[in-house]
């Protein structure tokens, strides 16, 4: 692995390294669709926060195709579509939640099932 030298820091930071992929994949979900988040509890990496597991939300936007981090953590580069999903406060927190608050969570396609 090449060592980052001081003179290359500015260029490396400016360029960055996107996890977005040019590859196109069919979209399984459309905006406005109700989806339920998988309730999985793997020992290794996932990007599903515990507080949305098993909960129902509405697809707010299609963010495009990215490297799927759960597989990437095992060294595999898999392309997957990412969505921003909206959850109401009452869906997530029950009577203690507020209907006038919502949380938007970026969730990969394989975390979601049609509801």
């Amino acid at each position: 692995m090449p060592v980052l030298k001081a003179e290359n820091v500015a260029a490396a930071l400016r360029e960055g390294s996107t996890a977005r992929l040019a590859q196109d994949l069919p979209a399984r979900f459309v905006c406005g669709q109700r989806v339920r988040v998988a309730n999985i509890n793997p020992q290794d990496h996932t990007r599903i926060p515990r507080y949305v597991r098993g909960h129902v939300g509405v697809v707010d936007s299609d963010q495009g195709v990215f490297i799927f981090p759960d597989a990437h953590a095992r060294g595999e580069k898999v392309a997957q579509r990412l969505y921003s999903v909206r959850f109401t406060g009452t869906e997530l927190w029950g009577p203690q939640g507020k209907a006038d608050t919502a949380v938007y969570v970026d969730l990969f396609e394989s975390y979601l099932a049609p509801q």
């Binding site: 820091v9 500015a10 909206r86 997530l92 949380v103 938007y104 970026d106 990969f108």
Partner: protein, 216 residues
């Protein structure tokens, strides 16, 4: 942690002060030092590059970048439209690109909607426009509470919104990074872009604050 605690009042302070285990421990500092010397000794890390990285985010890349973006959006409706439809490209017009800002989304505050940003899984933050995150942004109490009771968290930062304003919290769980476009404060119609940028605080772009009022 200190900044966040300082903003809390009354019983909240007491409740959160029990969360001392979330503060960085001397043990962590020792571990970082040990790792750093090991990496340097093995030639895997160049200490001059580390100094350059720290200097970059201490003196060159910070929330003043984001403030310029926000001020431009306030004075130039076409720029605002570009910012909301393709934030990465619109921000790149200023040259603010790169690490942790590769895929940006800008969310706009309106009289009906107030946006707040968090990373509940760790500390994801849009570096090219805001620099490195403040300590409270990475603290467990902020991350846990802002998704459950954003209005209460905002109140502890000193801001109370009308009851009919919807609060939207954006959790940066994947690779998209969020920036809040706050509302332009009233009484600023005579200010130019440069003076407007001075009103834009870091917290206003995270959503835990609002821009300053002119002459406040």
């Amino acid at each position: 942690m200190f900044v966040y605690h300082a903003k809390l009042t009354g019983c909240r302070t007491e409740v959160l002060s029990k969360h001392k285990h979330n503060e960085p421990l001397p043990e962590t500092v020792l571990r970082v030092k040990a790792l750093e010397s090991l990496l340097v000794e093995k030639g895997l890390v160049d200490p001059a590059a580390l100094d350059e990285l720290i200097d970059t985010y201490e003196t060159r890349i910070g929330p003043r970048n984001g403030a310029k973006v926000v001020a431009r959006a306030w004075v130039d409706p076409a720029y605002r439209d570009r910012l909301l439809s393709d934030a990465s490209a619109a921000i790149a017009e200023f040259g603010f690109t790169g690490r942790q800002g590769e895929d940006m989304v800008v969310v706009e505050n309106t009289p009906q909607v107030h946006n707040m940003v968090v990373c509940t899984l760790c500390s994801c933050y849009p570096w090219p426009v805001l620099g490195l995150p403040p300590v409270w942004y990475k603290s467990a109490p902020y991350r846990a509470r802002v998704v459950a009771e954003p209005r209460a968290v905002l109140a502890e930062f000193g801001y109370t919104l009308a009851d009919d304003v919807e609060i939207r919290v954006w959790d940066s769980t994947a690779e998209v990074r969020y920036l809040v476009l706050p509302m332009r404060p009233a009484g600023t119609q005579d200010l130019d872009e440069e003076l407007l940028a001075e009103l834009v605080t870091r917290d206003a772009m995270i959503g835990t604050g609002l821009p300053r009022s002119p002459r406040a």
